[in-house]
């Protein structure tokens, strides 16, 4: 499919897929820090107020192994001290769908529709021969940062890399996601259109002055 094999000693590149990448989770409101002799449950705010945060503290944090893809571009991946990766998860789970489509027609419809509407995710097909047993999605909002040398030491966990065509699409989708900026999509609607739009939104939205006339 869209993956290609990679030699164990090849340098890390954008689009390389790793398994068993550690993801550390953090809650600022519920933090366990280890002092000299014991541990205490506190908050990041309190650590800041007491002055410990600026010195650095030791904390107990959960770590989970996930599949992830390198998003750092190739030049930075060669020399940067840290690399960034995005987490990959099963596709259907990522879009909140329990039952898989029953035909190829419905599968392609789902994949294309999601690709057109959801910039946060990018779809990758399954490749059991590479250890990718399910259809996957990369989530651009879940970014993992790891020291490059540590990731290089984990090269046996690299299960493949995107082929050139897939790499082009991946980097364009990645760039598009971070290039976006927020705007209120209702700004050009007429008064009547705005009212209909506002009915469908859960959150409160305010009309622009030209939508009040």
């Amino acid at each position: 499919m869209i993956y290609e094999p990679v030699k164990i000693d090849d340098p890390i590149r954008q689009g390389d897929i790793f398994r068993n990448v550690p993801r550390v989770d953090l809650s600022l409101a519920d933090l366990v820090v280890v002092d000299d002799d014991d541990s205490r449950q506190t908050t990041w705010r309190d650590l800041v107020l007491e002055g410990s945060a600026t010195q650095g503290v030791a904390a107990v944090l959960p770590v989970k192994a996930v599949m992830a893809i390198v998003i750092t571009q190739d030049c930075d991946a060669v020399r940067g001290k840290y690399l960034s990766l995005c987490q990959m998860d099963e596709y259907l789970t990522s879009i909140g769908q329990k039952d898989p489509p029953k035909s190829s027609k419905k599968w392609q419809s789902l994949i294309v529709e999601q690709a057109r509407t959801n910039p946060r995710l990018i779809y990758f097909p399954a490749a059991p021969e590479r250890g990718i047993n399910e259809r996957m999605a990369v989530d651009f909002r879940v970014i993992l940062r790891l020291p490059r040398t540590d990731l290089e030491a984990l090269r046996e966990s690299r299960i493949g890399r995107l082929n050139p065509i897939a790499t082009e699409h991946f980097r364009e989708t990645l760039a598009h996601f971070f290039r976006r900026y927020a705007f209120n999509e209702w700004y050009p609607l007429t008064n009547e259109e705005f009212e209909e739009y506002a009915k469908e939104r859960r959150e409160m939205i305010e009309p622009y002055p030209w939508q009040l006339v």
Binding site: S27, S39, R40, Q41, E50, S52, P62, D139
Partner: protein
């Protein structure tokens, strides 16, 4: 020295300068006060005790170094907030945060995917 000090098991110690700093701190001899008369020693102790009790806030820039100096008693004057917990409780909290993160991540992704797709489906339904 402005780098944070991390334990050796943490990858940040691949920074050689930090390793050197740790070695420097570890090998540094403890600071000793010059010999004082008993009266002056008493005054010194009273002064340190008064400082420790009355200081409302102390900024400690270099904790590892100060632990080897006469100022170390002042460090314990820093009020630390939080509830003491056991290692078992710490583990449970960490696992709970992991589970919450997983759940919230999936919920958020699903909600977003459904929301974005709903406009598409509306258009499909109306066109049929």
């Amino acid at each position: 020295m402005n780098e944070y000090i991390y334990p050796s098991s943490v990858p940040f110690t691949s920074d050689i300068r930090v390793q050197d700093d740790i070695r420097e701190i570890r090998d540094a001899p403890a600071l000793r006060l010059p010999h004082l008369s008993p009266l002056l020693e008493g005054v010194q102790s009273l002064f340190l005790a008064a400082a420790a009790i009355t200081a409302p806030h102390v900024y400690i820039a270099e904790m590892p170094i100060l632990r080897r100096s006469v100022s170390s008693a002042v460090i314990w004057g820093i009020p630390r907030k939080g509830r003491k917990i056991s290692l078992r409780e710490a583990r449970q909290i960490a696992l709970r945060i992991l589970a919450e993160t997983e759940r919230e991540l999936l919920e958020e992704r699903s909600a977003e995917a459904r929301f974005l797709l709903s406009a598409w489906e509306d258009r499909h339904n109306e066109s049929q």
